[in-house]
């Protein structure tokens, strides 16, 4: 009966020579994408039999990324660099992961705890978002006693701001609860640092030898124009997108809250679209005002994902491009409208520096204004803890995330730099590595920097189009249930099969995991037999077999970093000069033929 193995020789190795498939380089935490793709493509057809194997594949993913079943709904960064992108569409890795997630999320509550003996130092993690939890997870697996200090009453941080039509709340809460249970992480709720007596100094006195500060960005960014705060943000009817998403996620907002209201949402990032689409689902008539241009390919193009823009448009949301907001118009303390001058350019060579043509001014009327321009960290707290410089910037080594003011404090996640969930997770991992080095007295930098080089796409005679992503039609999806359909087992197998496995074998080893091979065989060339004819070069599909000069003779060699141990060069060689070391195929054939 087929099953996958993830121990011993079947474990992937750290990429030697830093060669990886491009998707894996794009993923901030370098998830083993190719391996999962291959294993999914080999799943049994019957759902019942596939289930056990899906859990095995997922268990392996989980070790490296305990958030993978959330990534399956909201991430997909890897797809941006897929070599297949120009050949028929990137491999839908996100949906493949969601496919695993659909089975694995249910299984999570039965998953056994790691049971690691916690015999190392106490570490405090401040903030229970993706960055803090990832750091806690990594340290906890190494035997550190980790306590997470969470300000609110639930873990997850900004993940809760993702609307549930994109990420179902039960998937999120199941993942979080089980993560701390499985890894054995202590959590203190309603423990807001900087409030009352709880300070970093107190944590240190309480025996926490290192602190990872991942408090995120709890406050909304206010609307400014030409460097000045725009007045009227205190009018009745003006709110921040962040607040709306927070309240919706807590179930504090009725389902027809915006019925009959005209809303204006300011912002061009994904979160602004989350807000607009949420408001639309609450019955509002929504217009988005974005500073950026419609053409995503230009320097000033809108930063939100194309999928978000399309979905918003389908759901009947108007998008006004290339407009800033110079004035908020109020009447008797109530919001009435905004005045929007034409934005002629957003970025210049120095960075963000919007220019406006105030003679071309559009006035938009509305009942509610939702400002969604991003979030900012709790500067006052950071100031009190003396982690900022005189200009109010965090003083942190960006490579190790160690604070330059307090050596036992490490800072990462959104509080340092706002980014995608997986980028925050990466910071958590970096901090975990730094904390371990710090507590073990090791060098903080040595051997950590990795520059990866991507592989090109292997050649195919034909390429297949990607699986169609199915969305519920717009008129039927104005609710908070998932609007995207997941892949069926058949679709997942087909989609995964499209992966052309660009990467090297050491970072995959799917064939060993599934038991096709015992190890990755090296190709050996017998130079005495090799005539340098080059047949192997022709047979090799991976640019691995090459001809070189050795003492005046032309002989063939194999680049083991590119070799897939497929054995085609061995079969093609007319003079038996090539063989796979330790490969037992020849003996197996001999044994069968011997009994004929």
């Amino acid at each position: 009966m087929s099953k996958t193995e993830s121990k011993g020789a079947a474990r992937v190795e750290e990429a030697i020579k830093q060669l990886l498939p491009p998707c894996q380089i794009k993923c901030p935490i370098n998830e083993d994408i190719q391996r999962t793709n291959v294993l999914i493509s080999l799943l049994p057809e019957q759902p019942e039999r596939a289930k056990d194997q899906i859990i095995e594949i997922s268990d392996y993913l989980y070790e490296k990324n305990p958030f993978f079943n959330i990534c399956g709904y909201i991430c997909g960064l890897c797809e941006l660099e897929c070599n297949y992108k120009t050949k028929g569409g990137a491999i839908r890795r996100r949906l493949l992961k969601r496919f695993l997630s659909d089975v694995y999320t249910e299984h999570l509550s039965e998953k056994e705890e790691f049971g690691v003996v916690k015999d190392k130092e106490n570490v405090a993690v401040i903030g229970g978002g993706p960055s803090g939890l990832m750091c806690a997870y990594a340290l906890s697996k190494k035997g550190y006693r980790v306590t997470v200090f969470e300000a609110s009453n639930r873990l997850g941080g900004a993940l809760w701001l993702i609307p549930s039509y994109r990420l179902p709340a039960d998937v999120l809460s199941t993942t979080l609860t089980n993560l701390v249970r499985i890894a054995g992480i202590d959590v203190k709720y309603a423990a807001r640092l900087g409030e009352g007596k709880l300070t970093i100094e107190k944590l240190r006195n309480d025996g926490y030898r290192a602190v990872f500060l991942a408090k995120g960005t709890p406050y909304p960014r206010v609307l400014t124009f030409d460097g000045e705060v725009v007045e009227g943000q205190d009018l009745s009817g003006v709110m921040y997108g962040h607040t709306l998403l927070y309240e919706v996620s807590h179930g504090n907002i009725g389902q027809d809250y915006f019925e009959g209201k005209r809303l204006i949402v300011i912002g061009g990032y994904n979160v602004a679209f989350d807000v607009a689409r949420t408001a639309r689902r609450l019955g509002g008539d929504v217009t988005i005002v974005a500073l950026e241009a419609e053409d995503k390919t230009s320097r000033d193009g809108i930063p939100a994902d194309e999928e978000e823009v399309t979905a918003a448009w389908e759901e009947g949301i108007r998008i006004v491009y290339s407009r800033g907001v110079e004035r908020i118009i109020g009447e008797h303390g109530r919001f009435r409208g905004v005045s929007c001058p034409k934005c002629t350019s957003v970025f210049d060579d120095q960075g963000f520096n919007p220019k406006f043509d105030c003679t071309d001014c559009l006035r938009l009327e509305g009942d509610t204004l939702i400002i969604t321009l991003g979030q900012v960290p709790d500067k006052a707290f950071l100031q009190r803890e003396e982690l900022l410089d005189e200009k109010g910037r965090l003083v942190v080594d960006p490579f190790t995330l160690q604070s330059l003011r307090k050596g036992f404090v490490f800072v990462g996640g959104d509080v340092r730099r706002i980014g995608f969930m997986v980028e925050a997770m990466k910071e958590g991992l970096v901090a975990a590595e730094s904390i371990e080095r710090y507590l073990r007295g090791l060098d903080m930098r040595e051997g950590r920097k990795r520059d990866y080089e991507g592989y090109g796409i292997p050649v195919r005679k034909s390429y297949k189009p990607d699986v169609e992503v199915a969305w519920i039609p717009p008129e039927k999806r104005l609710h908070f249930q998932l609007f995207e359909k997941g892949l069926t087992l058949k679709e997942a197998r087909e989609e995964a099969k499209r992966c052309v496995t660009c990467g090297p074998c050491v970072s995959c080893k799917a064939c060993i995991s599934i038991g096709f091979e015992k190890s990755l065989y090296a190709v050996e060339v017998d130079v005495e037999r090799c005539s340098g004819c080059g047949t192997c070069v022709y047979a090799c599909n991976y640019d691995s077999a090459r001809l070189t000069e050795v003492e005046g003779n032309t002989v063939s060699t194999t680049d083991m970093f590119k070799c897939k141990s497929c054995g085609m060069c061995v079969a093609a060689c007319p003079s038996h000069a090539r063989k796979l070391v330790d490969d037992s195929t020849e003996q197996r054939i001999e044994r069968v033929l011997a009994v004929l």
Binding site: V38, L42, N541, C566, A571, V592, L593, L596
Partner: protein, 143 residues
């Protein structure tokens, strides 16, 4: 006439054939079965050796067109089989004794059936008789 059952050797690609089955059980159902990582890895020598050792037929099972994990191993195998059929014919071994099928069956349930069908076809040809000694001699010379 005595019932004659031909000896068939079956090579199959692991990525497409029978990897989901219980290997032992399937081995009992398919005589002389050799799963190989890729059909492109099957050497002409392996096939010739099978005939030399007394096989009456050789069956190669590869992945469907365009599905080879190693890009074109199945096409290589097919090319090799076609060329080899010509050579075998020159030695008086009918080309029907060597067959390749590019398809997929992870459960492997159809393999015994495919082997049986080929076996029936080969049975009509009878054993490889006249040329066996000659093939033996030429194969020894090659080694």
């Amino acid at each position: 006439m005595k019932h004659y059952e031909p000896k068939l050797v079956c090579f199959s690609c692991k990525f497409g054939w029978g990897y989901l089955a219980d290997a032992e059980e399937l081995r009992d159902r398919i005589k002389n079965w050799v799963p190989i990582k890729c059909s492109g890895k099957i050497d002409t020598i392996h096939i010739l050796e099978a005939f030399r050792q007394g096989a009456d037929g050789v069956l190669v099972l590869g992945c469907p067109e365009g599905d080879c994990h190693y890009q074109d191993g199945n096409f290589e195998a097919r090319k090799r089989v076609y060329l080899l059929q010509r050579i075998l014919e020159a030695y008086g071994i009918e080309k029907e004794r060597l067959k390749i099928q590019l398809s997929v069956d992870p459960e492997g349930n159809t393999i015994p059936q495919i082997v049986k069908e080929m076996s029936d076809a080969v049975a009509k040809l009878g054993p490889v008789r006249k040329t066996r000694d000659r093939a033996k001699a030429s194969s020894v010379a090659r080694r």
